[in-house]
Subunit: 147 residues, 2 copies
DNA sequence: TTCCTAATTGAAAATCATTTTCAATTAGGC
DNA sequence: GCCTAATTGAAAATGATTTTCAATTAGGAA
């Protein structure tokens, strides 16, 4: 489920990025992330390990990680951008609306739908963006225990 | 494909909203929209018919229309929020990455996928966000004619 | 190990999209 | 026509994000 810290730093290196303390701190947070995180979330957490980390660097690093495919942008209902770990080349996210826990899933299996819509509209479909929102097992349990 | 201006103003009325000149101008743009539009897009167009329209009112009106289900929020890759007409209770949008022309489609038919992911993860899935991006027939034709 | 330099940093400033404030205006019910 | 709650928009505020630029540093080369 999680992406590997070490694989990630290697990827950064291979793409010509220097491995600064700040970048390592950000990658650490992202690699162990179980929830979708905003830049502010990442900053708050990474700053504990790296107190001289600036928010600007968080934004920059997240941008690079997204470009490298290590994280994926997810839509947040409060307006700001979120990121979630991406271990798969092609995947989507399922997010708990309560605790924000995030799970990646790969097999969206949309071939049929895409073909159908394409055939009907004449479009050539190049991308699809899918995000699922619901309640995770834990939050469901909590809600049940509350009744 | 388009939502009806008149049905929209009636809906607004029925929900207790006054039909101001400004709101009419916004609804006019939205009702005839063939593309996904940002607030700024709507403002630029609606202002022609209603020169004393303020951007604030555009935002407010779009918000109301979204709440009433007349338009739907779509994800824009440039960061700001977009809106697209919604004539169906439940639908999604297909957007041309070139000209931004937007088509709504209803039959996302995701039952199977949702059930599969739910079964695997233990989540109770409540919402799904789906958006397709590609090239519309017109832009495809242009690109072909260019070769 | 040391040196060097291009890459990187972050505080401050800037930018951008959006929301709030509040006095002035107005839609529409009576 | 009157009245009032709803609505307006310019200005200000807000919050997320990006840019600027002098200072710092990662890591390759010697």
């Amino acid at each position: 489920m999680n992406v590997d810290f070490s694989a990630l730093t290697t990827t950064l290196s291979q793409h010509g990025y220097k491995l600064t303390r700040q970048r390592r701190a950000v990658v650490e947070v992202v690699a162990h992330g179980q929830t979708r995180l905003s830049a502010a979330d990442v900053y708050a957490q990474a700053q504990r390990a790296c107190p001289d980390l600036g928010l600007t660097t968080v934004y920059r690093t997240l941008e690079i990680l997204a470009e490298l495919g290590a994280i994926r942008r997810v839509h947040l209902d409060d307006g700001c951008e979120g990121f979630a770990p991406a271990s798969a080349e092609h995947g989507h996210h399922l997010i708990c609306s309560n605790c924000k826990m995030t799970i990646e899933f790969e097999d969206c299996d949309m071939r049929k739908l895409l073909d159908r819509v394409a055939a009907r509209t004449g479009f050539k479909i190049e991308q699809h963006w899918l995000e699922l929102v619901g309640r995770c097992p834990k939050c469901l349990q909590k809600a049940a225990a509350r009744k």
